[in-house]
Symmetry: C2
Subunit: 102 residues, 2 copies
DNA sequence: ATAATTGGTTTGTATTAAAAACTGGTTTTT
DNA sequence: AAAAACCAGTTTTTAATACAAACCAATTAT
């Protein structure tokens, strides 16, 4: 008779959310209704390529919405968190707390 | 005049601690005084190789202490958290909270 | 004797975070 | 009017690493 694994909390941690840069992005997006590429770039102090890849991951996971428009002649990209994103962010923290001290 | 980056919390996140499996190990080690390889193996449901590499990382970072002994003729390895480990675990969570909702 | 188990370590692979290089334009300088 | 510099990103490359598979050495069971 084999016994079951009961304490595998680490498996409940969503890797898309878990990455620190993406956590920071999601945190920002939960309090601002909308932010743009350059705001994130300067606020987080990332390279453009790095930011772009993190953004893609969040978009592909359905956690953020991307809006592309022209401001005059210049392209402008901005982001919002989706309902799913907000939900998963909450859920992530709920799971993480099981790994916190106390 | 260039402005400074103020919101780079993600850089404060210690990657050695941040990995979910290692978080789980550290969590366990903060409440038990000492645990052994097999306890972690079955509790966490990992492969031996995977556990061994996580253990190494924690040891190299000075976060855990490894004790190797013979129990009769059988080798036995057990682990404790170090003062540094405990401290870094606390610090990690302090930093992480800056990325949490609310 | 041989097979299975224990207690690990070493090696290989696939993913991915991060930076560099590139693209398609626009604005500024000369 | 060209060229240089800049803007707003995307695509490509690289280096690190989580994870599993394979291995190893000794012990216990058949």
């Amino acid at each position: 008779m084999s016994s079951k694994q009961v304490n595998q909390i680490h498996n409940s941690i969503n890797r898309v959310v878990h990455e620190p840069v993406r956590l920071a992005i999601l945190k920002i997006l939960t309090s601002a209704k909308e932010v743009d590429f350059n705001f994130l770039l300067t606020t987080l102090g990332l390279t453009k390529g790095n930011l772009a890849t993190h953004i893609s991951k969040l978009e592909m996971a359905g956690f953020i919405e991307v809006k592309k428009e022209f401001r005059g002649k210049i392209p402008h990209t901005s982001y919002r968190i989706t309902r799913t994103g907000r939900h998963q962010f909450q859920k992530y923290w709920k799971n993480m707390k099981a790994l916190a001290p106390e």
